[in-house]
Subunit: 136 residues, 3 copies
């Protein structure tokens, strides 16, 4: 059994933003030399989520619009008395801080229309994403 | 350490639909001969999700109704200019393409009222689900 | 390769409630003696979810309010004809019954503002949460 770790820094430029990290995750799996196992992409933050979907410009904007509509800023959230970002915490809570993938024959398994994104919910910031591959 | 893979084809008949794949996942775990580990059910699609809940006819319809209400079709989504299914991509993005389970004493661990479903969001289609069990 | 299991009982006191189980999960990882791997927290219930976010009193109430607003009780759900808790099943379906974490150098990896909670959706009840750490 082998375990291999990476940590990537993602710099975001807007409050709500998607950053495609697919190539970083694929490089990580290649460097791990692990043939079969699991790969976890895990965000060390409570105002970020990891999501999987198609990299298409219109859809990326649809995702941003949908998040901002479903988790609106400044609605009198109680957490806003401490830090003005309750909406970002709520979206991260429901969507989740990670996604996990099969590794087969040394490659990350995902569909043709599946890319891996960091969903920034309270940028701009520098975000740390842990990548871990475990297998043989 | 052992790793065992299966891929199942799921044929759906409606645009939004739940297909119970619990017995396929349990057969996969049995065939793996793995006693303790993890089992991942992963959909290779960006308009599908994997979910876990009770197999009850009314609830299945409630889930379909709730998805269609929260992710409505044809709301002027930008992705619809490319392909008329942005609502399906959005639901898959937020719910997620996979669920993972403990394996203990050779059995899939889940609650009495937990079944595993493919949530089709843009059917009818043939869908590919990767099953992977890793352990000892 | 090693696999280590725990099961914790969580007693809830309200219909919707967050219970912070971070210290239980950290104790479990310590007891496992596993240095590098994955840790899964998995709820054996279809009216519970596992979530990760900041332990701040205002935010905890915001999460409860948001769940109750987005998954309202008594809206004529079909499952309510069987058991009066369709709203709880729907929230669990979309949010998910588990979260998974990296284990590195014998410690659970999570961000400074990330705690692990059981999200009770149909309490008060006693809930069983499986903790599993796999690694070396």
């Amino acid at each position: 059994m082998k375990v291999f770790f990476d940590e990537i820094d993602v710099l975001t430029e807007s409050r709500t933003e998607l950053v495609d990290i697919s190539s970083y995750v694929e490089d990580h799996v290649r460097k791990s030399n692990i043939k079969n196992g699991f790969c976890l992409a895990y965000a060390l933050h409570s105002t970020v989520a990891i999501i999987v979907n198609e990299h298409e410009t219109g859809l990326i904007q649809d995702i941003i619009n949908k998040v901002e509509k479903d988790f609106p800023k400044g609605m009198g959230w109680l957490h806003d008395r401490i830090d003005d970002n309750a909406d970002a915490h709520l979206a991260s809570t429901f969507i989740g801080p990670s996604r996990i993938f099969p590794i087969k024959n040394g490659r990350l398994v995902k569909g043709k229309w599946q890319n891996i994104f960091v969903l920034e919910l309270d940028g701009p910031r520098t975000r740390k994403i842990v990548l871990e591959t475990l297998g043989e």
